[in-house]
Each structure stands twice: as structure tokens, then as C-alpha cells.
């Protein structure tokens, strides 16, 4: 039986890890490969780097970070942010990433997912969707891009269907309303998506406690949970989160160190 995953997400800007609360007020959190190694030792099932470097000239730094991380971290590595073409995806995979998440670029180029899935296999193509609840319309979410700043008018559920049809092998689903709040995941959004797609769904945005993680899986039917600030700020360790999830009956992989 597949185990449920806990994924720390490292937002990387200009080579350093930062975490924004609702994407503003960024605070420096440290060196990406070092943090990744620490999390892997603590039992992280996968490491996610989200590159939020605005300037294209900063991109080389990301490949360097991926390479340095892949030489010392032996769990799967996902990279998102700023990948706009199959060529850029190839470079990130060659640097040692296992999966690449595309977000704004998939909106701009409707063929990007299909092209990348054909070329590299759907297992390494992740569609990252930032969804915001449409005010006054329960059960509807809109896709927003560019770090949550730009609305697209796309219905999030229809968009996800289309991306999965095109070959996305996984959905990284972020609730922009909850992101950075630590108030818990948007369970309604998760249920709406997990009931529609066959591919794994990663819950993101709002993790504040281990109970939130369990809820995303038992009620939201997510395959994995992703969080940043609660881990970076050591509010809850990965070991503690997984131990609590295991106690609640969620099948997880426990850290050897904690055993």
C-alpha cells in the first residue's frame, strides 16, 4: 500500500530559502541544500523547491542548488517555479530533480504539459495550481498565477481536469486563501479535486498543526501534504507530524532517527 507523504517546501529566491506569509514579507531561512538534507534526515518523503526568483538571470542559481542538493539528499526532489519550456524542464531534470512542477507557464502555453509528458514521462510532470475561492460562489475556485497576484478567470477544477488529460502525473494544489495562515487546509477544495482526478494530489496552503495534515488526508483524500513555515520555524518537526499522523491511523514512513 502506498504511504502518505509529508513534503517540506523550500521557497528559494536568489539562492536562499525564504517563506512568505501570503507571499509578502519574505524572511531569510537559510541554505537550500543544507535545509533539504536536514529535512530528509528527519523523514521528509520528498523535498520541494519552489523557485520564486523573479529575474531570469537568477535561474542558473537554481540549477546549482538542485545539483548540490541531489549530491547529498537521497529522497525524491521536486522543483517548481519559472520553468517555461521543455528545454528548461530538461535542464532541471538533468541537474538531478525527479519532478518538475509547472504553474503560470502551463497557463501561458497550453501545450507545455503534453509536450513535457511525452518527452519525459508523466511521472515527472506536476501541475501546480494556485486556487482562490470565488467570493459568493461556494464550490468554485479560480486559478491565480504569478505567486497569487494575477487572476486568470480559469475555473480551477476544469483547469485541473484539462492538465491531467494532457499528461500531468500529479497535482500540487495550493489554496491561496489559506497559504501562510496556518489555519488548516481548504478541505472543500481538496475534496472537489481528489474526487475528480485519478492522479495523486498534494495538499498545500494552510498547514498549521499535525492534525491539519491528517485531516487533509483522511477528509480531503490527499496523497501528500506540503508545508513550509511550520517546519522552517520548527513549530512542528517532521518527525512529530508523522508520528501524530501514524497515531491517527495514516500510513506513513517513520524516520529511522526517531525510531
Amino acid at each position: 500500500m502506498l504511504l502518505r507523504r509529508v513534503i517540506p517546501c523550500l521557497d528559494v529566491k536568489d539562492g536562499r530559502v525564504v517563506k512568505g506569509v501570503r507571499f509578502v514579507d519574505l524572511t531569510d531561512e537559510g541554505d537550500p541544500p543544507e535545509l533539504a538534507r536536514r529535512y530528509a534526515e528527519a523523514g521528509a518523503d520528498e523535498i520541494c523547491f519552489l523557485d520564486i526568483t523573479a529575474a531570469p538571470e537568477g535561474r542558473g542559481t537554481l540549477l546549482d542548488i538542485v545539483e548540490r542538493t541531489a549530491s547529498q539528499v537521497f529522497v525524491p526532489l521536486s522543483v517548481g517555479g519559472g520553468v517555461r519550456s521543455a528545454l528548461e524542464m530538461r535542464d532541471v531534470l538533468r541537474a538531478g530533480a525527479d519532478k518538475v512542477a509547472v504553474n503560470s507557464a502551463a497557463v501561458a502555453d497550453p501545450d507545455l504539459i503534453a509536450t513535457c509528458a511525452r518527452r519525459f514521462g508523466r511521472q515527472c510532470v506536476v501541475i501546480s495550481v494556485d486556487a482562490r475561492a470565488v467570493p459568493g460562489e461556494p464550490g468554485r475556485w479560480e486559478v491565480v498565477i504569478q505567486g497569487g497576484r494575477t487572476p486568470t478567470g480559469l475555473d480551477a477544477l476544469e483547469w485541473i481536469d484539462r492538465c491531467v488529460d494532457q499528461g500531468a502525473g500529479e497535482v500540487l494544489l495550493t489554496s491561496i486563501d489559506r497559504d501562510g495562515t496556518r489555519e488548516g487546509f481548504d478541505i472543500e477544495l481538496l475534496q472537489a479535486v481528489t474526487s475528480r482526478v485519478q492522479v495523486p494530489v498534494i495538499a498545500s496552503g494552510g498547514a498549521g498543526t499535525p492534525a491539519h495534515m491528517t485531516q487533509a488526508i483522511t477528509e480531503g483524500h490527499a496523497d501528500a501534504v506540503l508545508a513550509a513555515s511550520i517546519f522552517h520555524r520548527d513549530l512542528h518537526s517532521i518527525e512529530a507530524v508523522k508520528a501524530e499522523m501514524a497515531a491517527a491511523g495514516v500510513p506513513v514512513r517513520l524516520s529511522r532517527r526517531a525510531a
Binding site: 500500500m1 502506498l2 504511504l3 537521497f74 538533468r94 538531478g96 514521462g121 514512513r253 525510531a259
Partner: protein
């Protein structure tokens, strides 16, 4: 001091070699990436990684002139380590596309029987079904990272060392003589995966004693 194990990682364009190379280097092996038969010379271990489809993979191995040299060297005592698709290629035939494969182990490759979802991607348990030194020190709740849709069905049950459940049960680790095959990615399976790779390298070192020719 023990000489480092010399590993040739076969590069036939079927996926990322960096992680497996990094893991082997971390464990003290001397790793060369081999694209041609000449690249296999001097290797104690031929490691075949790979993701993707078996027919395409065999086609690339054939075009690079690697199929016969790999078979000959392994029959001549070189170790073979297969990872994911590289493990499946050990067997005779794939139901994925009818590919004729290396045939170093008897059996066929089939879709995961009874799988609730395909591909099978993520962490799952390794359940030992018979003792083998490659498992030395592995904890009871060992886990590994999988990315695949097909699995081998070995004709000889004694080569199956661990099984994994995804709907049905399948052989997740096989071993025979100087062959070790991982259906999962040990280089992506954290401490348990690194332990399995370390054990494999130690088996190679232990096997050297058998190779030493005693002068008459």
C-alpha cells in the same frame, strides 16, 4: 585498505543517472558512465538504470552495441545491478510491447497485477520473503520509492527477495548469483535505499575472494 568497487553506470539515454551516480560515490564506489562496450571494460559492476518503455530501452542498448557485451560480461562473472526498468530488462520478455530483453533471469514482465492505480508512484514497503545478505541490517518496516507500471514475474521463485503490495503483490527486489535487481529507486529511498546499495557493494567486495586465481 579495500579497493573501491568499480561501477559502470550504463548511459543509454533512458533517464537521469545523476542520483544513482551520486549515491554510489557517496558509498565509496568508483563510478564511470558507460555509453559504449569499451566503457564497460574493467568494471566489476554493470549498473543499468532507466525509466520508460522496455522496447525503446532495448533498442537504444542495441544501437549502442551494448546488449551482447553486457550479457557476455555478466555470464563471465561481472556483477549486474538493475534499477527500475534496468531490473526489468534482466528478464526474457515484456508484455508492455513484446520486447525481447537480456534474458539473464527467467521470466516475463507484466503490468502490476491487481493495481488500484497506475503508475505506482511513491513510497511503499519492502517485505522480505527469503533471507539474503543484501538485506543485512534492513529494518522490518523498510520502505522504498517506486515509479513504475510494470513488474517482473520471475519463473524461479527463489530469486525473489522482497515483495511489495500494490493491489496485488510483486517482486520488488530480486537476486541471483551476481545479479541484484531493484524495482524501486534505492538512490531515492533514503537511508533504507542507501543501505541496500551499500550491502550490494559489500557483496561485490566479498565476491572478490572467489575471483583470486590460486597459482598452481
Amino acid at each position: 585498505m579495500t579497493e573501491p568497487v568499480r561501477v559502470a553506470v550504463v548511459d543509454y539515454g533512458a533517464g537521469n543517472l545523476i542520483s544513482i551516480r551520486n549515491a554510489l560515490r557517496l558509498l565509496g564506489a568508483e563510478v564511470e558512465v558507460a555509453e559504449t562496450p569499451a566503457g564497460l571494460g574493467g568494471a566489476e559492476v554493470i549498473l543499468v538504470p532507466g525509466v520508460g518503455a522496455s522496447e525503446a530501452a532495448m533498442g537504444r542498448l542495441r544501437r549502442q552495441g551494448l546488449v551482447e557485451p553486457i550479457i557476455e560480461q555478466v555470464r563471465g562473472g561481472t556483477w549486474f545491478v538493475g534499477v527500475c526498468l534496468g531490473m526489468q530488462l534482466l528478464f526474457e520478455r515484456s508484455h508492455e510491447d513484446g520486447a525481447e530483453m537480456l534474458g539473464l533471469l527467467a521470466g516475463e514482465v507484466v503490468p502490476i497485477p491487481g493495481a488500484p492505480s497506475l503508475p505506482h508512484i511513491g513510497w511503499n514497503r519492502l517485505e522480505p520473503v527469503r533471507p539474503h545478505p543484501v538485506l543485512a541490517g534492513l529494518p522490518d518496516d523498510a520502505t522504498a520509492y517506486f515509479v513504475h507500471s510494470f513488474v517482473p514475474q520471475p519463473a524461479e521463485p527463489e530469486v525473489v527477495i522482497t515483495e511489495t503490495e500494490h493491489g496485488g503483490r510483486f517482486a520488488s527486489l530480486v537476486a541471483a548469483d551476481r545479479i541484484v535487481g531493484f524495482q524501486f529507486h534505492p538512490e531515492r529511498s533514503g537511508e533504507d535505499g542507501l543501505l541496500l546499495l551499500r550491502n550490494t557493494l559489500e557483496l561485490v567486495i566479498a565476491g572478490r575472494a572467489a575471483d583470486v586465481e590460486v597459482p598452481a
